[in-house]
Amino acid sequence: MSYFQLFISIFTSVMGTVGFAMVWNMENKYIPHAALNGFLTWAMYLICEAYGCGNFTATLAASLVGVLVAEFMARATRKNAAQFRISGLVCLIPGSGLYHTMDALIRSDSAMVHSYAMSTSYTVFGIAGGICLGSALMYMFKVIVDGNKNNFAY
């Protein structure tokens, strides 16, 4: 990947995150937070990819970063973590995989259907794994720091 492609990839992922934050009516002053989370998430994915990680591992690591950053942003701003988390992870959603799977299905190309479906599934499972792992770590952190299991709420 050239530097220009890298720039385009990061820029579009960050601005795409901003777009989603606007569609979902995030308060304007927190949109930069969402953009930062989108940047860190996608940067993590690219770093993992550069080190030769597979799609699942890269998505898992990126999603974990997105969840943790969102939780810490929520603590810092005393706002709902979900808005930072969802906006941050949106660049990992396999829109391309979904399209190509269905395209191959319509064209009856079973080898490509299998390939794209597996790749899309790995991405979805990577996102799910990252959210579960990140949530588990944050839960432990909150119990240790706050000393109260029910204080889960911003």
Binding site: V18, G19, W24, N80, A82, I93, L98, Y99, I127, A153
Partner: protein, 250 residues
């Protein structure tokens, strides 16, 4: 202290409003519980799933009230969730009357997302994700232009559709038709990049991520319901986009 049954209805309405705005089940559950306990309830028992809320408030004098609410429709609105959070926090700090709670809740309900922000955001999503998935500048510009009618359709089709899956299918179908027409008029455009950019507008990312979090936090039933719907919606979207490609043979 005299307790008012209407208060329970208000707490449940706050929870319902949260779920309709895209909050996780656990958040709505916790909000109702904390508001009830702040009001003076001895115990709050809540069953919340994506479509239904059942809440029983047990008062210190032994009286119990149960209220149910059906949850229908709604769209993601983070500002509204935040406003509802603020409302519940201020109530928990210093409980106020049912009248005041109702007025403040109505104020939040009537505060809708601005169309300009929604359309601008949708067009930005179309532009950026078309380029993100490898599209050219021309693809991104055309995708951005198509995002506007796609957003308009999305806003108006929801009340005509019986289910979320059918709604997503129709949105995708119309967007797919528009993309195919654009590709026929402008041959330099890459149809797949256009479609992928438009798919990202409709893809149920919020439902998918919330469902995973719901399952992880123990709201397995709600999470599974939400995930199943999200997966069916995803398939419906992809199917809706592919039909015009199949028919036109582009």
């Amino acid at each position: 202290m005299a307790y008012d049954k209407k208060m329970l209805g208000m707490f449940v309405d706050v929870g319902r409003e949260m779920l309709q705005s895209g909050a996780e089940i656990g958040r709505a559950d916790t909000t109702i519980k904390l508001m009830g306990l702040a009001y003076g309830a001895a115990r709050m028992d809540i069953l919340a799933i994506t479509d239904y809320l059942v809440v029983t408030m047990s008062l210190p004098d032994g009286v119990e009230y149960t209220i149910t609410r059906r949850i229908e429709g709604g769209s993601t609105d983070f500002s509204r969730i935040e406003a509802l959070n603020e409302l519940s926090r201020s109530f928990c700090n210093k409980p106020f009357s049912e009248q005041e709670l109702r007025e403040r809740l109505d104020g939040i309900r009537n505060n809708h997302i601005g169309n300009l922000k929604k359309y601008a955001g949708t067009m930005m999503v179309g532009f950026m994700f078309s380029a993100f998935f490898g599209g050219s500048l021309l693809d991104a510009i055309v995708c951005c232009a198509l995002a506007f009618p796609a957003c308009f359709l999305g806003g108006n089709l929801s009340r005509l559709c019986s289910s979320n899956i059918f709604y997503n299918f129709l949105c995708a179908l119309f967007s797919g038709i528009m993309a195919c027409i654009a590709a026929m008029i402008i041959p330099a455009v890459h149809l797949d990049k256009l479609m992928i950019g438009l798919i990202m507008i409709f893809i149920p990312g919020r439902a998918l991520t919330n469902s995973i979090k719901d399952i992880f936090l123990g709201d397995t039933l709600s999470g599974m319901m939400r995930m199943t719907e999200a997966l069916f919606c995803g398939a419906a979207i992809a199917f809706g986009f592919i039909i015009p490609v199949y028919v036109t043979g582009i």
